[in-house]
């Protein structure tokens, strides 16, 4: 299956849109079974397992998060949070492999807003996706969210950047 640059860009915009529309289960389906969502704790961090991260979640943990958001007794979501992404046009970091059906790497700058009750906060940074072309389209193998201030004293970050 041939993937064009525009397909990749559309996929990343659509991913953010699912989050902003709170279609978390549809969002989860974008992840490959071996997919990972990673948010490092330190700027420039390369170690995944042997130091603390803000998030390092496989599909099991992502599923837990999505289920929890729906829960009757999820009191930190009463009332619910809302989120919004503004993305810069995604960059494809390895465009030469597009026609070869191999994993595609992208980089996308974002301004993310999350709000609940009277509070609203902003997170800024860039996401690095690794996308796998399959017969059914693209899947997320890895989404790495790099904040410009991961070490700051954050309030609750309850939804997905």
């Amino acid at each position: 299956m041939s993937i064009s640059e525009q397909d990749v860009i559309d996929f990343i915009y659509a991913e953010a849109n699912l989050l902003d529309e709170h279609k978390f289960e549809d969002w989860l389906e974008l992840f490959a079974d071996d997919g990972v969502y990673w948010m490092p704790l330190e700027f420039g961090q390369t170690e995944e397992h042997l130091t603390t991260s803000l998030m390092y979640e496989d599909k099991l943990l992502l599923t837990v998060r999505v289920e929890r958001l729906k829960g009757e007794r999820t009191f930190s979501q009463r009332p619910k949070s809302r989120c919004h992404h503004i993305l810069q046009r995604p960059q494809i970091l390895n465009p030469q492999i597009l026609k070869k059906g191999k994993e595609i790497k992208t980089k996308t700058a974002f301004h993310y807003t999350e709000s609940r009750l009277d509070e609203q906060f902003f997170l800024v940074g860039w996401a690095e996706h690794i996308l796998r072309p399959t017969g059914d389209g693209l899947q997320i193998v890895r989404k790495q969210v790099n904040l410009i201030n991961p070490e700051s004293a954050h309030r609750n970050i309850q939804l997905f950047v």
Partner: protein, 444 residues
Amino acid sequence: MSEVDIKALVKPGASEVHRDVFLSQSVFEQEMKTVFRRTWVYVGHDSQVPKKGDFTTTTIGTQPVIMVRHSDNTIQVLLNRCPHKGVQLVNDPSGSTGRFFRCPYHAWSFKTDGSPLGIPFKKGYEDTGFDKSCAKKGMCNLKNVKNYRGFVFVRLSEEGESFEEFFSGSLSSIDNMIDRSPEGRLEIVGAPLRYLHHCNWKMLVDNQTDTCHPMIAHESSAGTVKKIWEAAAGEDTSKPMSKPMPKPMVVELVLPFMSSYETFEKMGIRTWDHGHGHTGVSWSIHSEYSDVEGYFISMVEAYGGERAEEIIAETRHNTCYFPNMMVKGAIQTLRLFKPIAADKTIVESWIFKLVGAPDTFLKRTAMYNRIINAPTSIVGHDDLEMYERAQEGLKVDANPWVNMQRHYRADELGGERVHPGTSEVQMRNHYVSWAKYMSAGDEV
């Protein structure tokens, strides 16, 4: 100092505590002048400053300090202000200052023990009385510093209990964490998680030994892990006899949060004088982690079989060190509840490497930290919601009391004591000591 009437805030035995303990800014300011000056407060671990000139910055209460390794290899703790105009000498969380601190404003310089090194164009101070000033003495070097097996504590006040008297038997929890390294050595790994709470710092301390909340407040997080894992494993994991699928590490870490009241009751609580205590006397939610290949052998080689078994079997849950630190030896984490204001707290969560032990331990520790302690943690979200609702709910004038009477007995404290695991005794122990340090003697 505007005196706060402590007796009006804490009932005998701390069975009930007045809301002003959490809400009042004048109570908070008195805490900073008493509790955080008269007790031994943790400032850092010496592995954070391995080389001469290495420093970290932190706070004791609201006092900014620098922990630095001096040229003679000792750990020094200095108040972080230039004696000239008050500018902070360094403001990075950590770094190296080389052989001296140099103020970025007017280039006054100080050795790494705080003593004065140089002032540019000094002749302007001749015949001014400068020799008698505070500024002449250099940076304020804190005298009462204790490096206990790598853990550095400071008592700001000149007078008070010695380090050993203050902590007594409670140091056994720090000892156990260190002894879990076959080399008897820990190292801090990475930056701390930092999590801003709009609530009083003591609500977090209370929560550490609150064994009646996990199965309720964390039903949304730990309960969902349990539900999804049971569905994935295709079986009911409440029946331990049939285990077709090995539990992933994360499931192993989170499922025990859903243990029953009866289990937590049997876990037990131990208290010591001066407000220290821990959950998990005979068992804890950390007791049933999988063995790590090669570890036991290295422990036996280091300590001998009997001692190695003893160290590994001691799986205490949360040890609260008065006033604002919590240590989990069995999972090598340390949390600090840093007071910012009556309704503002920053929680720092640190992890340690067991030097000489397999990397699996560090992986487990790092996973625990992000799953439980991060601002992105669903478990953290559950707790923060409760603290902040309490901070708001306590504004109700009709009932100004926070209740801590579970398993209360008038004669329960004194020396080392063991109590039922769902008792609120460690909270009471905290406030009995808190009241003592808040009211004892003159301002120090």
